[in-house]
């Protein structure tokens, strides 16, 4: 639904009070911070109302008016709170400029159906604000970690220097610590050794089994599937406890092989799920065609089937990799100090609250997960293209 609805300018009596209400809300927060909430509401509401009216009615060009508001607020903010105040002020000014004109020009009506009542329009936008708030809830914790990892102090919180954007408040020392501290390096090295080995195991077994499972006549398909998926469903603490008892009995507890086997078992469901999903769209007549032309099953597998299901295999592998790379409960029990992985080191750090090096590691891990996410997304699209579905 693109711009179907004709829009028109709205009367002052509609938009100025609305903008004023928003200003009052902002004023409330600033007011309480300065000592008097009531005064803040009053001043905020009045100032914003006056500015909104002036910008829409007095300034001839919208662009000039909005820039003016942003600069005005930026100046005011800078006067009160230095550089960070200026930035916050500019954002504030930009928002109010946009908000005033959005209401004044009636643009809020442009993209929604013309027959909606004002109440429905209000609900439409409130709903979006609610969704926005939930999405902010989802993403904020991850965003907060990143700047904190550049903290120059050993605190888990923003220091006044950081808030002033003082370069002295920032440093790379936690990253330096991560790259020089032998504990962390040892843990990183262990993770790098364990995760790929576990991934290779689960991908090779898992792909074969997924191909077997997707053929037409498999007896007990449902129960086999249930068993193979179970490592994903059984709570990790139970898997960890069971493996701890069993592996120590057969002498695998505290060994590299034990941890790899345990992680491979945990990664298998992901491989099975992604590869069977890819195989659903696989055209069986292709293998028959290949056989018809004289290819033996092995050649058919590697030359025909494998390239087509490759995206699914790789994304299953990535899931298995991240499962192992992220896993802490099982390695806590099955591993010993010699197999201390990155998550384990983070876990001990968090429990004993040692240093923001954890946050530096967290930032690096977020970077890795962004890279993995991008890869999986690209693979998904490629897979859908290969299978002739239109990428959404």
């Amino acid at each position: 639904m693109t711009a179907l609805t004709p829009i028109s300018r709205k009367p002052v009596s509609f938009y100025v009070p609305v903008v004023a209400a928003a200003g009052a809300l902002a004023g409330l927060f600033i007011g309480t911070a300065q000592g008097s909430g009531l005064l803040g509401i009053l001043i905020g509401g009045l100032v914003i109302a006056a500015l909104a009216w002036a910008a829409t009615q007095l300034v001839p060009s919208e662009k000039a008016a909005r820039w003016g508001l942003a600069i005005l607020f930026a100046g005011g903010g800078a006067l009160l709170g230095g550089l960070p105040g200026g930035i916050v002020g500019a954002a504030f000014g930009w928002f109010f400029g946009w908000f005033s004109f959005w209401l004044y020009e009636g643009r809020y009506r442009a993209r929604i159906a013309p027959y909606l009542t004002p109440g429905q329009v209000l609900w439409h936008y409130s709903f979006r604000v609610i969704c926005g708030a939930i999405l902010i809830f989802l993403i904020t914790p991850i965003l907060v970690v990143m700047p904190l990892s550049f903290n120059a102090e050993n605190f888990f919180t923003f220091t006044p220097e950081m808030l002033r954007l003082d370069p002295a408040g920032y440093s790379l020392k936690h990253y330096r610590d991560f790259f020089t501290n032998s504990d962390w390096q040892h843990a990183l090295w262990n993770s790098v050794k364990i995760a790929p080995a576990a991934t290779i195991l689960s991908v090779s077994f898992g792909t074969l089994a997924a191909i077997g499972l997707s053929s037409e006549h498999v007896p007990f398909r449902r129960s086999i599937m249930a068993i193979l998926i179970s490592p994903m469903i059984v709570p990790l603490i139970i898997s960890a406890a069971g493996m701890y008892f069993f592996y120590s009995r057969i002498g695998l507890q505290g060994t590299y092989i034990g941890v790899v086997l345990a992680h491979a078992a945990l990664g298998i469901p992901f491989v099975i799920i992604t590869v069977t999903a890819t195989l659903v769209g696989f055209d069986r007549s292709l293998t028959r065609a290949a056989a018809n032309m004289g290819a033996d099953p092995v050649t058919t597998f590697f030359r025909v089937q494998m390239p087509l299901i490759m995206p699914g295999v790789i994304s299953g592998g990535l899931f298995a990799f991240i499962t192992s790379f992220d896993e802490v409960v099982v390695v806590l029990f099955v591993g010993s100090a010699g197999q201390k992985t990155l998550p384990w080191q983070m876990f001990t750090g968090l429990r004993e609250q040692i240093s923001p090096t954890i946050l530096a590691v967290a930032t690096i891990l977020v970077g890795i997960s962004i890279a993995l996410l991008a890869t999986v997304e690209l693979l998904r699209r490629r897979s859908e293209r290969l299978r002739g579905m239109s990428p959404s």
Partner: protein, 517 residues
């Protein structure tokens, strides 16, 4: 045409076999090939995953330590009445003496004490204390008297030779059994039983056999001589020896506990896991001060429900907007959902620790805004609130993704049709859209609930004492208190709940329909 074919008999394949059989063979081959492809993984999962889980389940009912460490005592206790108010007879104490000395040599008595302490407090220290004394009991009286008959008794070689003789063994059953256990232990330590000093408890066992009159007709003259002299020996009251070590041994309750838990399998751990215990009169509730597990189970269920509820509340609007926006915008917003999903669990947990703590980001902002007084910063971590917030955040993508995939299949025209037929916004949503999205809610809720109920890491880090789950208790029993049986029983109950939910999920959604990303 049909005439000629009917006369030719069944349809034949190219190689001349009937087509039906040929097809059946091809089908069988296909099945076998599929199974051959699945087999390696199935075996792998069975060994690395299913076997450990089964092992854990068995561990929750296994109780071999009592009968393994105290075989003679358990045999003697058969004739003792559990409801008796008097301590068992001298025979039981004699058997117990032999078992205890052997256990003390192998340092098993402390483990046994720890095991029995789960059922009756105080037994651990009782066993430890007695273990220190049991080697110094006055049973050397028997040693001295038997050695006085023939100095050869002192030689380990004599004993080794005697215990190799079938007739002698038959005449001295208790001595033979005790010697075997002793010799097994020495061999496992790399010592030679034929060269190790013969301890008092072996002489005691020998005396008990002799006094029982089993050895009268034995051929070996040395044994016959001892058997003849035995009735005249000065004796030691082993029961009073134990009573001197600790008067609790005369308390029948101690023996009740040993007797009740002497079977190889027990439901004791499961009873403990639901705050019950086995008493002499059957199953009874545990002392009030030790009842925590039911409360923990209830708390785990309650918090998982709250988390599932908040995930529905927060996930539904987001899934709706993702499903109804143009796909370009929706894909962009999807990144905001998928990024947390892909980010390490520990990163997200540490982020919440950073945000929620008293000197954390949220409190700082609230203080700066003047909403909260600096002296009264909110306590949002190390309690239930912290766990619920952090876990809702962590599990929210698991709710949004299934909801989104269901909502994508609901045509938006249905809502418009409902409205054009006169439904209000609310009616259109509640009567038309919502019922179609229920499968998504069901799938997401079960997934979130299954994941929440067994969570360990997040409650451990942000849960403090009031926000922890049953899984934290399981971890505690396995790594700290070493009460593995109880840990396994708690785990089995949790596993049962999860498997039930898994089964429901399979019925509703189908396990093959799980989608990732």
């Amino acid at each position: 045409m049909s005439d000629t074919e009917a006369q030719a008999g069944p349809v034949l394949a190219a190689d001349g076999t009937p087509l039906k059989r040929s097809l059946a063979r091809a089908l069988r081959m296909q099945k076998l090939r599929a199974l051959a492809l699945i087999a390696p993984l199935l075996i792998f999962v069975l060994i690395t995953f299913i076997a450990p889980i089964t092992d854990m389940l068995l561990r929750s009912v296994k109780n071999e330590i009592v009968v393994d460490v105290l075989p003679e005592t358990v045999a003697q206790l058969q004739s003792w009445d559990v409801d008796s108010t008097a301590p068992p007879s001298e025979a039981v104490f004699s058997a117990f003496y032999i078992d205890m000395v052997l256990a003390e040599e192998q340092k098993l008595h402390t483990r046994l004490g720890t095991r029995l302490n789960y059922e009756k407090t105080g037994l651990s220290s009782l066993f430890r204390k007695t273990g220190r004394r049991v080697g110094r009991f006055d049973t050397d009286v028997y040693t001295d008297q038997i050695v006085a008959l023939d100095p050869a008794w002192k030689e380990p070689a004599t004993w080794a030779a005697m215990m190799a003789d079938k007739a002698d063994r038959g005449a001295l059953p208790l001595t033979a059994r005790t010697w075997d256990r002793w010799a097994d232990y020495l061999n496992s330590e790399g010592k030679d039983p034929a060269k190790t000093k013969v301890e008092d408890f072996l002489f005691t066992a020998l005396y008990l056999d002799l006094a029982a009159g089993n050895a009268k007709s034995v051929a070996d003259p040395r044994i016959a001589a001892a058997a003849a002299a035995a009735p005249g020996f000065e004796t030691v009251d082993i029961r009073s020896q134990f009573a001197k070590a600790d008067k609790d041994w005369l308390d029948p309750a101690v023996w009740q506990t040993i007797k009740i838990f002497s079977s190889r399998f027990t439901n004791g751990y499961f009873l403990n896991a639901v705050d019950l215990q086995k008493g002499p009169d059957g199953i009874e509730p545990r002392p009030e001060s030790q009842q925590i597990y039911l409360m923990l189970f209830k708390r785990t269920l309650f918090m998982s429900l709250v988390i599932t509820g908040s995930c529905i509340l927060l996930g539904y609007p987001v899934a709706w907007i993702l499903a109804n926006l143009p796909s370009r915008t929706a894909n962009l917003l999807m990144i905001l959902v998928l990024l947390p999903f892909w980010t390490s669990l520990l990163v997200r947990t540490s982020a919440w620790k950073v945000m929620l703590q008293q000197q954390g980001v949220i409190n700082d902002v609230l203080v700066w805004l003047g909403i909260v007084d600096d002296a009264h910063r909110l306590v949002m971590i190390n309690n239930q609130f912290g766990t619920i917030v952090a876990m809702t955040h962590i599990l929210l993508p698991f709710m949004i993704l299934p909801l989104y995939s269901v909502m994508q299949t609901i045509p938006p025209s249905y809502l418009r049709a409902a409205k054009s037929l006169g439904a209000t916004n609310w009616t259109a949503f509640w009567r038309v859209y919502f019922p179609q999205s229920v499968p998504g809610i069901g799938a997401g809720s079960i997934l979130v609930f299954i994941l929440a109920i067994g969570y360990y890491i997040t409650p451990e880090i942000v849960g403090g004492t009031t926000g922890t789950f049953i899984s934290n208790r399981i971890a505690y029993h396995i790594s700290s208190s070493l009460n593995w049986g109880l840990g396994a029983a708690l785990g089995s109950i949790l596993l049962g709940v999860v498997l039930l939910l898994y089964w429901i999920y399979d019925k509703i959604v189908g396990i093959d329909n799980v989608k990732l990303g």
